[in-house]
Each structure stands twice: as structure tokens, then as C-alpha cells.
């Protein structure tokens, strides 16, 4: 087991240039943002002063009401007046107020609203940057020592995320990932937000809805590296260019169904080139049902299955010259189960999770050489399983077991055993220590990892990565 292996794919220099433009413009933008922050803070301070004035006015109304002998009709301390433009509303008094009191209240209210109106208008004035997407940046770096390969500092990823609404009907997001190999568009997709019948459609480049951990970004994984069964069977992250539709069924039980069509699934999948056209029979089609079983308030199980079907895999070659594909179909199936125990009153401090995925791949492989190819169907099986316990708010430990057969069944099996320990300095910064014992055909190796991850900027708790 080693780091996520990324073949050198053609990198889009245009993306790097765009990123450069964004970052080089950040000086001017940052200055504008600073000014805007200062203005906002000044407005907040003014608003607070005005709120105090309003409190004094309300106390005056109460006093005057008491002197007039009518019931106290003003809103009690701790409430604010409705914003300008809305009809001022106060709690209904227990008996009808005297007309003079009503007039007094109205005059005071109008006076206050007149005074705060300019500030309120300023606060709601739009700035050009207000429609800019939210930004986040995840930094992931790993130090490793592998018994047979030596030590290395690996700059794993600087992943820039952007998210925003497109319009009332869709939202968009993108992740640009800078690694040792260059910069690439990891995800960039548009997702509908208002289709009827509980439907959601997604199009662009995204992580296809296959399994569980294939859809997670590297830095979000529960361990240092993606399980090798996912690297080998799926092709790392389930990155796919295509379209996907998801349906939340109208049942009381949470059940969803995903259907997808893509060029291919897997960032490291060499079967198809995203840049060239192909017949529909060479696309990959996905179906995935999933459900959640709420055992108790503190215990739940996520369960899912997936089948990625490629009707025709044309012949292609790996860098090593090994050929695969002869126009026969490929079936990649998976079952995923995640059990969670989260005691409700201790959720920050105690958690237990067991996650497992079992994968099955069936496709034709060339078991001879390029001059005299001989294709044979190979059925391969693999799985990973991990348990993780949160021992305290900032510490957790776990164990990962990973096993896979060779996809072409021409070599032996690979197994890894990985205990790991994570320290969260805060929700946004994590240190992880991991030991891996790798057994692969003809080799075994001890590996040590230290991973340091930090997230800057806008932060959203995602449903996909829970």
C-alpha cells in the first residue's frame, strides 16, 4: 500500500492560469474585502448604539404608559423592532390601549425608524462581491517512511473549493486540486435545487455515487490513504464526467435511488479518454439504491449497493503495455455498510463507527501479450473494513483492514493492516499517525505516515461526507 497513485494525466494549463488570475487578483480583492469588513463592523457598532437608544425609548413608553394609567403595550426589553419596511408589530396588550398612548407609541416608533432607516438601508445595500462564491482551501501534507522505498515528504493537496447558488433553480461547486503533479479540476458541477418529485440532477465533473469512500476527497478520509481496493477497483476517487439523477423516494423510510451515465468512473481509470467521443455502448452506467436504518436515537446503519456497467470496454493499454478490454462488458459492483454509534449527549466526545465496502469486478483481460492477445474473463473480489472510536473530543483511533485480488487474477492478493491515531487540534486542523503493514505478491513492507491537514475559509458540513 502506498500513496494514492496518480498517473500523469494531461494537466490543463488553462486551469492553472485561471487559478493564477484568481490568486493574483486577490491582492486587489483582498483590499476591497478588508474595506467592506471595516464598513460592516462600523455599521454593526452603529446598529448596536441605535438598539440601545430604542431600548431607552421603549422604557420611556412604559413609564409614560404607567403614568397615563394604561396597560404597558410596548415590547419588553430583549426584543428589537421589526426592520424598516415591515409593519411594526408588538405583542398584543391584554386590554385596548388609550388613543393618546397609541399615538405616542406611533410617534416614537416612527421617530426611531426614521433615525435607523439610513443605517438599515446601508446594511442591505449590495456590494459587487456579495454574489461571489464561498471559498475554502484544504491543505494536506504527508510525511512517510516505507521500509523498502525510503522516506518522503509528500505535498498531497492544496484543494480550493468554491460554492454558490447559480440561480433559484441550481447551485454550483468546483474543486481545483494542486498536487505534486500539477493542478487539475477535481470536481466542477451544477446541481439542481428545485426539481419536482424529490429529484436532483447533477452534471459536469463530480464524484459518481458509487459506494461510500470513493466519493470522499483525500483529506477527508478517515485514514491517511484511500483503501487500495478502491484505488484498484474504482480508480481512486470515483471522479466522472457525466450526468446523474438522484431520487428520494416518498416512503417514510429514507431510501434513495441514483442513476448515472458517465464517460467512465475513476480518476485513475485508463479505460476511456475523457477528451474523445465514443459510442453509447462504451459509456459507464450506474444504478445505486441506498437507505438508512435508524436503530435507536444513538445507533444507525447506512446501507447501499451499486452497479457500474460498461457494455463495451474497448482495448486499451496501461503504461506497462498490459492490455485490457476486447469489447466485452465490465461489471463493477459494490455493497457498502456503515454503522454509527453516537450517544446524543456526548456526541462531541464519544463516537464509534464501523465502515465496510465489498467490491466485485468482472471484465475481460488479456492474459498473453500484445502480439498474441488472449482475453479471458476475470472475476475479482476485494473489500476494506475499518473501525474508529472517538475517545475524547480531540482524539480518535482506528484500524483499517484492506484486501483485494488482482483485477486480472494473474497475480496474488494484496492485504494491508493499518492502525491509526488522529488528533484534532480544532475542527479545522488534524494530525494523524498511521502504521501500515502491506503484503503484496512477492513483497511485504512496513510503512509509517504522519499526515497534517488544515482547512481555511468557508466551512460547510456536507451530507455526503458525514
Amino acid at each position: 500500500m502506498g500513496f494514492s497513485l496518480r498517473d500523469c494525466q494531461p494537466r490543463h494549463t488553462g486551469v492553472a492560469m485561471c487559478l493564477g488570475l484568481i490568486l493574483s487578483g486577490s491582492g486587489a480583492l483582498g483590499q476591497t474585502v478588508e474595506d467592506l469588513r471595516r464598513d460592516l463592523q462600523a455599521m454593526k457598532a452603529q446598529l448596536q448604539q441605535l438598539q440601545e437608544k430604542m431600548k431607552q425609548q421603549e422604557n420611556l413608553i412604559e413609564k409614560l404608559s404607567a403614568q397615563a394609567g394604561g396597560p404597558a403595550a410596548a415590547a419588553a426589553p430583549g426584543t428589537t423592532m421589526p426592520p424598516a419596511g415591515a409593519a411594526p408589530e408588538v405583542a398584543a396588550p391584554s386590554s385596548a390601549p388609550a388613543p393618546e398612548q397609541e399615538q405616542l407609541e406611533r410617534r416614537v416608533t416612527e421617530n426611531i425608524l426614521r433615525k435607523i432607516q439610513p443605517t438599515l438601508s446601508a446594511a442591505t445595500r449590495t456590494f459587487p462581491s456579495q454574489f461571489n462564491p464561498a471559498l475554502s482551501l484544504a491543505l494536506d501534507t504527508v510525511g512517510s517512511y516505507k521500509e523498502n522505498r525510503g522516506a518522503n515528504f509528500e505535498f498531497r493537496s492544496a484543494e480550493l473549493g468554491l460554492f454558490a447558488s447559480v440561480d433559484p433553480f441550481a447551485r454550483g461547486y468546483a474543486y481545483f486540486n494542486g498536487t505534486n503533479s500539477g493542478v487539475e479540476v477535481e470536481e466542477a458541477a451544477i446541481v439542481t435545487t428545485s426539481l419536482p418529485y424529490n429529484l436532483t440532477a447533477k452534471g459536469g465533473r463530480f464524484f459518481a455515487d458509487f459506494g461510500r469512500l470513493s466519493k470522499w476527497h483525500d483529506h477527508d478520509l478517515p485514514f491517511v490513504d484511500r483503501p487500495t481496493v478502491l484505488d484498484k477497483f474504482v480508480g481512486g476517487e470515483s471522479q466522472a464526467d457525466g450526468v446523474e439523477v438522484n431520487y428520494l423516494t416518498p416512503l417514510q423510510q429514507y431510501v434513495t435511488l441514483t442513476l448515472g451515465a458517465y464517460n467512465k468512473i475513476g480518476a485513475d481509470n485508463r479505460q476511456t479518454d475523457n477528451a474523445t467521443g465514443r459510442p453509447f455502448s462504451q459509456f459507464t452506467y450506474l444504478v445505486r439504491p441506498s437507505t438508512f436504518i435508524n436503530l435507536t436515537d444513538a445507533n444507525g446503519i447506512d446501507l447501499g449497493g451499486a452497479l457500474a456497467y460498461t457494455p463495451k470496454v474497448e482495448t486499451f493499454a496501461f503504461d506497462t503495455g498490459v492490455q485490457a478490454g476486447n469489447g466485452a462488458a465490465r461489471y463493477l459492483g459494490g455493497l457498502d455498510l456503515t454503522y454509527r454509534y453516537t450517544p446524543l449527549s456526548q456526541a462531541l466526545y464519544r463516537k464509534f463507527i464501523w465502515g465496510t465496502e465489498v467490491l466485485y469486478n468482472s471484465e475481460d483481460w488479456n492474459v498473453e501479450d500484445t502480439t498474441t492477445p488472449a482475453f479471458r474473463r476475470a472475476d475479482a473480489f476485494g473489500l476494506y473494513s475499518y473501525v474508529e472510536a472517538r475517545l475524547a473530543r480531540r482524539y480518535g483511533s482506528g484500524f483499517l483492514f484492506d484486501y483485494e485480488q488482482a483485477l486480472n487474477r494473474q497475480s496474488g492478493d494484496t492485504t494491508t493492516y493499518s492502525p491509526y491515531f488522529s488528533i484534532w487540534f480544532s475542527e479545522y486542523q488534524r494530525l494523524r499517525l498511521q502504521y501500515t503493514y502491506l503484503t503484496e505478491p512477492g513483497d511485504h513492507e512496513s510503512q509509517f505516515f504522519v499526515q497534517w491537514t488544515g482547512v481555511l475559509g468557508s466551512h460547510a458540513h456536507g451530507f455526503r461526507d458525514r
Partner: protein, 304 residues
């Protein structure tokens, strides 16, 4: 309508599990708001709470079953001020319910009329896990909850104007009840005026402000950041010098550290509930405030 279409509509309604005379479905994020929503909505509404009351609002689990509840909801009622940022935004997205997305009519943000305390003047993660719009834990201030009730009534009326008069009558009754309780609590809490407290997390400032107490600090270094031994030592020293009266441990934070700090400073330790349902005695909102006030008063009378 052709017979076959009518049949399919009936089947679709059956599959959706909707009764023939459907009530207005409301999902509240915490039991305190759920109780208010029930009182204001009366028989017209059916209300569910996502939290049970024992949770830390910052770690309510993001269960897919909640997405189903929200998918069916006509309205969602929340504290706002990013109190529910750890679970609600993702659940709203997963619910695919356009009626209750952020800033739609069905999205009832109860902080609308609340005078927010502790609004940060600088937004920077170096200052911890800040709430950029101010401290959201106003559910412990009954006067702020009066304002929340107003926002709920308004939100209900906005979505269902046919019941507006019912909602207005009910919210007036609720606010009158709260006024009476606030008067009683204010008299009862008189001995607490001027007392100081340290809480684990900065979630007691509204309660303290309402009943005349002062918040000396928190056991967390910053909001959301657990204390280091060095910080704890320094805090103990400052608390001794200032003769802080109370250490407040919210029930979902660890007991040992709070106990140690109380022992070493001479402050009285209280273990509070922060939501309705947090302890059996806090079975409704009045019970919640009564429970917490009683804790403070009993601690004041006890030996340190």
C-alpha cells in the same frame, strides 16, 4: 379528470403517507422551539423536533431520517445565527424541499427580533469557532424567546394566512404567560444579581444577562477549543483572585475538569440543562428555566 389519473393521484397520496385532512407539518431544530410552535400553531400544526434536548446544539447528528422529516415539512423553525450550522444546511439540501430552503417563506429564523449579544467585531478562526452573527444561545433567555415566539407566529401566518388570527391569539397568550413567568423569575433570581460565573462554553450569556449575573469567562480557551493544562491553570488563578461564584457545566461537556476547577477555586459547581428535555425536570420551557434557576439558588445557599 380521467379515471386513471384520479387513481394515480390517490395512489401517490397514499405512498406519500399523507392523511386525508393534513395538518401543517412543522419541523423545529430544538425542543424549546417545538414547544412554542405547538402552542402557537395549536391544532393546525403537527410539530417534530430534530434534537431531543440532551444534545449539544453543535453536534446534533446529521441523520438521513431527518432529511425525510424535512422533505415532508411545510416549515422549518430554527434558532438561527448559525446555531445549527453543523447539521441543518446539509439536511435542508438533502431534503430537496424547496419550501423550506434558506430565506424562503417556510424558513422561520427565530432570531429575527432578538437583540443579539456577543457579536464579534472580528471574524477570524484564530478567535475560535466563532458565530459570525453573534451568540446564538438565546433560548436560555425567556425574554428573547418571547421575540422568537413573535417570529414563529409571523412565519406561520406568512405561510398560512387563513389561520393568522389563531396564531396571533395563541402567541399573545404565550407571551402573556412568559411575561408572568419572567416577573416571577426576576423576583426569584434577585439574590443572583452581581454574581459571577464561568461556563464551559459561552452559552450562558443570555441567561446571565437576564438575571443580572456576569460571565467571567469560559473553560474553553475559545469557543469550540478545549482548554490546555496551561490555560486551565491560569483560569483557576484568575477565578480565585476574582472570587468567581459559579462554575457551570453544561451536561454534554466533561465533568472531571469542571469539578476540578470548582474545587480549586471554591466556586460552586452547577450542571445545567440547555434545552427543554435536557433533564427530566426540564419537560417544558418553564421547567427548563425553573430547573436552571433553582440550581443557581441552591448552589448559592450551599457551602462551596
Amino acid at each position: 379528470m380521467p379515471r386513471i389519473i384520479r387513481f394515480l393521484v390517490i395512489v401517490a397520496a397514499w405512498l406519500g403517507g399523507l392523511p386525508a385532512q393534513a395538518k401543517i407539518t412543522v419541523v423545529a431544530t430544538i425542543p424549546d422551539l417545538a414547544e412554542f410552535a405547538r402552542r402557537i400553531g395549536g391544532d393546525a400544526v403537527e410539530v417534530t423536533s430534530l434534537a431531543t434536548g440532551v444534545e449539544n446544539i453543535h453536534s446534533v447528528p446529521m441523520k438521513p431520517s431527518f432529511a425525510v422529516l424535512l422533505n415532508r415539512a411545510d416549515m422549518v423553525v430554527l434558532l438561527g445565527l448559525e446555531a445549527e450550522h453543523a447539521f441543518l444546511p446539509a439536511l435542508l439540501e438533502a431534503s430537496r424541499n424547496p419550501r423550506i430552503q434558506r430565506d424562503t417563506p417556510g424558513y422561520i429564523d427565530c432570531s429575527k427580533y432578538v437583540t443579539v449579544l456577543d457579536v464579534p467585531t472580528r471574524i477570524d478562526r484564530a478567535l475560535g469557532d466563532l458565530h459570525p452573527m453573534g451568540n446564538p444561545h438565546y433560548n436560555l433567555d425567556p425574554v428573547a424567546m418571547k421575540a422568537a415566539a413573535q417570529a414563529i407566529a409571523e412565519g406561520f401566518a406568512r405561510n398560512h394566512p387563513e389561520h393568522e388570527s389563531t396564531f396571533q391569539t395563541n402567541v399573545s397568550a404565550l407571551q402573556a404567560d412568559l411575561d408572568a413567568q419572567v416577573a416571577r423569575w426576576t423576583r426569584k433570581a434577585a439574590p443572583l444579581k452581581g454574581k459571577t460565573l464561568v461556563s464551559y462554553h459561552p452559552d450562558f450569556i443570555y441567561f446571565a444577562d437576564r438575571f443580572g449575573m456576569n460571565v467571567f469567562g469560559t473553560i474553553e480557551i475559545r469557543a469550540g477549543i478545549d482548554p490546555t493544562p496551561g490555560y486551565t491553570e491560569e483560569l483557576i488563578e484568575r477565578m480565585r483572585r476574582a472570587k468567581v461564584d459559579f462554575v457551570v457545566r453544561e451536561l454534554y461537556y466533561p465533568a472531571t475538569l469542571a469539578e476540578t476547577i470548582a474545587q480549586q477555586t471554591g466556586a460552586r459547581l452547577l450542571e445545567t440543562a440547555n434545552m427543554v428535555g435536557g433533564v427530566p425536570a426540564a419537560k417544558d420551557y418553564v421547567g427548563l428555566i425553573d430547573y436552571n434557576l433553582q440550581l443557581f439558588l441552591m448552589a448559592l445557599q450551599s457551602r462551596p
